[in-house]
């Protein structure tokens, strides 16, 4: 048998159902890896041995009884520490919540537990999901398993790293401006930012409510679809979560991409690092060979994405973080770290009397134009392919003293959040030892299509087999 840390969910699930491995053995191996690597990588804030093993024990019983289970049953998963988990400490990566133990589960956590997935731990993140590097955590930075001197990308840093390093087979994350796609690209894993409203936000500590999307990381595209099959769907506790029925995301995933029209938006390739550009265009060529058609398109308001985002997001952050008063739960407001404080100040300013029209209202208007770019593009093409990041994973410390430079790391990812459309980050090769990812973006609720394209490409390349040496 393969080394357990090299398994995919699909393979592990087959081994479990055919009784070649016990869920307790599988989970034990992943817990061991999580503990063993945490000193180096710092990808977990809390490791949940007892909860994970109890769940695994239950799964072994169900399998022994011949029950038909969800493919996620017995699968070790990580949960970004911004999802409420009943009786498991949830810190949001901040000292404000260092002792907070939720009394209920986020809807997505509830669904995963119901599918009998085993939570191995709560993963590290930029505090309150504010950051692009994973360095803003009050519990110390997470490191990139492909090069320990570099950042793994943020804010869902620990989730991406736990999957990449074989400490979980899937991990939940949140994506408000790129917080799943960027770490996915930096760590050679698949990351989905679903359509806004596809997955319930209930019980996930809110950052910017009109932008927050709940997604996840896996090694492969197929595995990613398996997780969305569990998390997608209506939720009475989140009124922005759509009643539109989710698809079966693994169905038709192997269908050909013949005849699909791929748009290449010129704004994302101008001035792009030549090597990154080369890898992404090579990936597009692979899809062309499989029968897809390629068309040059324009998303003219792309250059206003970060400016628009850095009005809307801090404004909503300042409002959402107003609830942390140290009275009902958590500690008092001076415990906030620098980045949260900076965003509270910026957002309070842009919403304050006399400035609201010039900033927030203006940004909401430009947001409509940015969404319009995508709506128009999808009249001509089925999907759009573009880079995730303008750079390779950067060095720890390189951008920490210059917030604007850090914010610009999100230049290619914020637009999908502003427009609300889904985007799948898929590994597309290496420059030296460092991974590069591309985005496959589609119209609202087209996750099934994104998986189909991602799967076709991945089958040709299998970058997930290039594992880090830690």
């Amino acid at each position: 048998m393969k080394n357990v840390s090299d398994l995919t969910i699909r393979e592990a699930s087959d081994l479990l159902s055919s009784k070649q491995i016990k869920a307790q053995e599988l989970v034990q191996a992943y817990l061991k890896s999580a503990h063993g690597q945490n000193k180096k990588l710092n990808s977990f804030i809390t490791i949940c041995d007892d909860a994970a093993l109890n769940q695994a024990k239950k799964v072994d019983k169900l399998i022994a009884n011949g029950q038909k289970l969800n493919p996620l049953a017995g699968i070790p998963i990580g949960i970004k520490d911004v999802f409420s988990t009943k009786d498991i400490r949830t810190t949001a990566g901040s000292r404000v919540l260092e002792n907070y133990v939720p009394v209920y589960d986020a809807t997505s956590v509830y669904s995963l537990n119901n599918a009998n997935a085993c939570i191995v731990g709560k993963t590290n993140l930029d505090a309150w999901a504010h950051g692009s590097s994973g360095e803003n955590s009050d519990f110390g930075p997470t490191r990139n398993p492909y090069d320990l001197s570099r950042v793994p990308g943020g804010s869902s840093s620990g989730s991406a790293v736990s999957v990449a390093s074989g400490s979980s087979l899937a991990a939940m994350g949140t994506d408000t401006g790129g917080s799943i796609r960027l770490p996915a690209a930096f760590c050679n894993v698949v990351g989905l930012k679903p359509t806004y409203g596809r997955v319930s936000r209930y019980g996930v500590i809110a950052m910017a409510s009109s932008l927050d999307c709940i997604g996840h990381f896996t090694k492969t595209v197929y595995d990613n679809a398996l997780v969305l099959n569990v998390t997608a769907g209506e939720d009475g506790f989140d009124s922005t979560c759509t009643a539109q029925k989710p698809d079966d995301y693994t169905k038709d995933i192997e269908k050909s991409v013949k005849g699909f029209k791929i748009g290449i938006p010129k704004e994302y390739f101008e001035n792009l690092d030549m090597k990154i550009k080369g890898l992404i265009l090579e990936a597009v060529k692979k899809l062309e060979k499989l029968g897809a058609q390629v068309e040059d398109i324009s998303l003219p308001n792309t250059e206003y994405g970060v400016a628009t985002y850095y009005i809307i997001q801090p404004s909503e952050v300042s409002s959402n973080l107003a609830r942390y008063d140290g009275i009902r739960f958590g500690k008092t407001r001076e415990k906030f770290g620098s980045e949260a404080k900076r965003r509270i100040i910026l957002g309070t300013y842009t919403l304050s009397s006399g400035y609201y029209d010039a900033y927030y209202l203006k940004a909401m208007k430009v947001r409509r134009l940015i969404r319009g770019d995508f709506v128009d593009a999808f009249k001509r093409v089925d999907i759009i392919i573009c880079p995730v990041s303008p750079t390779l994973p950067f060095k720890l410390g390189e951008k920490v003293s210059d917030p604007l430079q850090m914010y610009l790391a999100d230049i290619f990812t914020v637009t999908a959040n502003l427009a609300g459309v889904p985007s799948l980050a898929v590994p597309c090769g290496f420059i030296g030892d460092l991974p590069v990812g591309m985005q496959i973006i589609g119209p609202d609720f087209s996750e099934k299509l994104l998986y189909q394209v991602g799967y076709a490409y991945e089958r040709e390349t299998k970058w997930y087999r290039v594992r880090p040496e830690i």
């Binding site: 922005t240 304050s352 969404r371 917030p403 427009a419």
Partner: protein, 100 residues
């Protein structure tokens, strides 16, 4: 339509609005850093949005309501579990008004 002005942010005043205590060092640092961010944001002035309707969220959902039914919720003990101070089954807070 108001234009984004030359960025001037009174961090001291805004920190009071936000009920967020800051050290003098933080105030100085944020003022400088946020001026950079606000200068960058000012590029939105380039776009004419006079005839554009604002877009606050992207779903077409409106007036989502639930049936008027009761269902189990947190117990009082659970709701108070994480509070730093409680009194007789309530959250305890510092006095807001000064005594006469």
């Amino acid at each position: 339509m108001k234009k984004i002005q030359k960025p001037e942010i009174d961090v001291d005043y805004v920190s009071k609005l936000a009920n967020l205590p800051l050290s003098n060092k933080e105030k100085g640092l944020f003022e400088k850093q946020l001026k950079d961010v606000l200068s960058y944001i000012a590029k939105l002035n380039e776009i004419d949005t006079d005839k554009v309707e604002p877009n606050s969220h992207i779903t077409d959902l409106a007036n989502v309501t639930k049936g008027d039914k009761t269902f189990p919720s947190l117990s009082q003990d659970e709701a108070l579990k994480n509070a730093s101070k409680t009194y007789n089954g309530f959250f305890e807070v510092d006095a807001i008004f000064e005594e006469q």
